[in-house]
Symmetry: C2
Subunit: 258 residues, 2 copies
């Protein structure tokens, strides 16, 4: 039987240790092709490159543990997936995995996440897709403790298929002793930004974005709760953004009367 | 009574005719502050500027018809809203309106939309928010025919408030004879990309992203249907991306057994 074709991408760039760990793990269960940004793309959300050129080339990052086919791309994570599906791959991948991100994409962070935008882009094309993120921003983060679970989740996705219109947002707590895997909903939360205002040598005002995440949700069915308890959180995530429950409410507005 | 404070932004940049038309219209119902990108940010999705500086300055674009306070910002639409709320505004705006975009943000385009990312960013902060898009990509598009409806929708949002966790994605067909306003769901669809491959003078391969939108949904309750019939479509849009219906399905996967 043909091995499953696994498209691997990320948003931290093709040399990121989290991506390299994911490639090693995916090679154990399938044929791996990598198409990943040539530079970090964190916080890119679902950006795509319009009105600008996109460069891509075949590269070898790691002779020993890399994939047979790896391409770097000058674009965003969503661009990488589009280019992979339309140009670089010979056949449709059986699954697309993105990550392992250096840092959390739980709760509202899914909205800003380049990692998840790659998974969502594949999902829109009907391809099972999963974004993986480790809650450790360090470039030297230890990915080893989670690799068995990553492999298990991908294997189960290949076996079961994905519910229609759904991709998975998987977040992994920073711990050597993972308690297990919990299926969750996205916790409500937001960022309390602070802008660090400075002045350039030429006298222009500029800002650095900083801030703290504020959790607004104590539900024990949320990703944040699971992570705090030492569980891997899996949130089925959709790209139909319609707030269906709000349609009847807005139908009561006085929009068409004069 | 204090006039409502209206934050106006967009993704086409602070000089875009669609933004200028929105400013003129909003000045009829409230006090307007503009914080908008200093250059076009189309297709930026929900990108934010991390690990890079953000410049902002007070500007005057149009002495006669502009707003008393306008700021340009070097960042993305989501950055503009964050900077407005945390730094530039004296009080919380009563509503945030984004647009009017030069081009459609219906169906799956909501995912890639900088216009909508600004509205969603405000929505995350609990501020009523609406993204407006005209289905005409031309810089010289005629915004006049839709301005009464835009004003109506904003007025109704101010009167009724917004359902919790919801913002509005409003798309306007390119026609002088609008039939009315329909509350809709997001149509299923995707882009069939084609990459136009070229070679640079120095011998590097590069691509231009092109493609056609493919509608996969004929539902008469969708935004695409409403637009095709000449109606303005209003889709209540949420930022809880959890596919709640998929949670029990994925709970059946064999993830925690050994």
């Amino acid at each position: 039987m043909e091995k499953p074709l696994i498209l691997v991408t990320n948003d931290d760039g093709i040399t990121a240790p989290g991506l390299r760990a994911l490639i090693r793990t995916m090679k154990e269960i399938g044929e791996v092709v990598v198409v990943a940004p040539d530079s970090p793309q964190s916080g890119m959300g679902h950006a795509i490159t319009v009105d600008s050129t996109l460069f891509s080339k075949k590269v070898v990052v790691d002779h020993k543990e890399g994939a047979p086919s790896e391409y770097s791309c000058s674009g965003t994570p969503a661009d990488c997936v589009k280019l992979a599906l339309r140009v670089l791959l010979d056949r449709t991948p059986d699954i697309c995995v993105s990550g392992i991100n250096h840092g959390s994409n739980s709760s509202i962070n899914v909205i800003y996440s380049g990692t998840m935008s790659a998974a969502i882009e594949a999902g829109i094309e009907g391809i099972p897709a999963i974004g993986f993120s480790l809650c450790d921003y360090s470039w030297n983060a230890d990915f080893e403790p989670c690799l068995d679970a990553v492999k298990k989740i991908v294997s189960e996705a290949l076996t079961n298929g994905m519910p229609k219109g759904t991709v998975l947002n998987v977040n992994i707590p920073k711990t050597e002793k993972l308690k297990g895997i919990k299926i969750c909903r996205q916790a409500r939360g937001n960022w309390k930004e602070e802008f660090d205002k400075r002045r350039s040598p030429s006298g222009k005002d500029y800002y650095w974005l900083t801030g703290e995440f504020e959790l607004l949700d104590k539900g024990e069915d949320t990703d944040e709760w699971a992570l705090a308890q030492g569980y891997i959180s899996v949130v089925p995530t959709q790209f139909d953004l319609t707030a269906h429950h709000a349609i009847p409410l807005i139908n009561n507005w006085n929009l068409n009367e004069h």
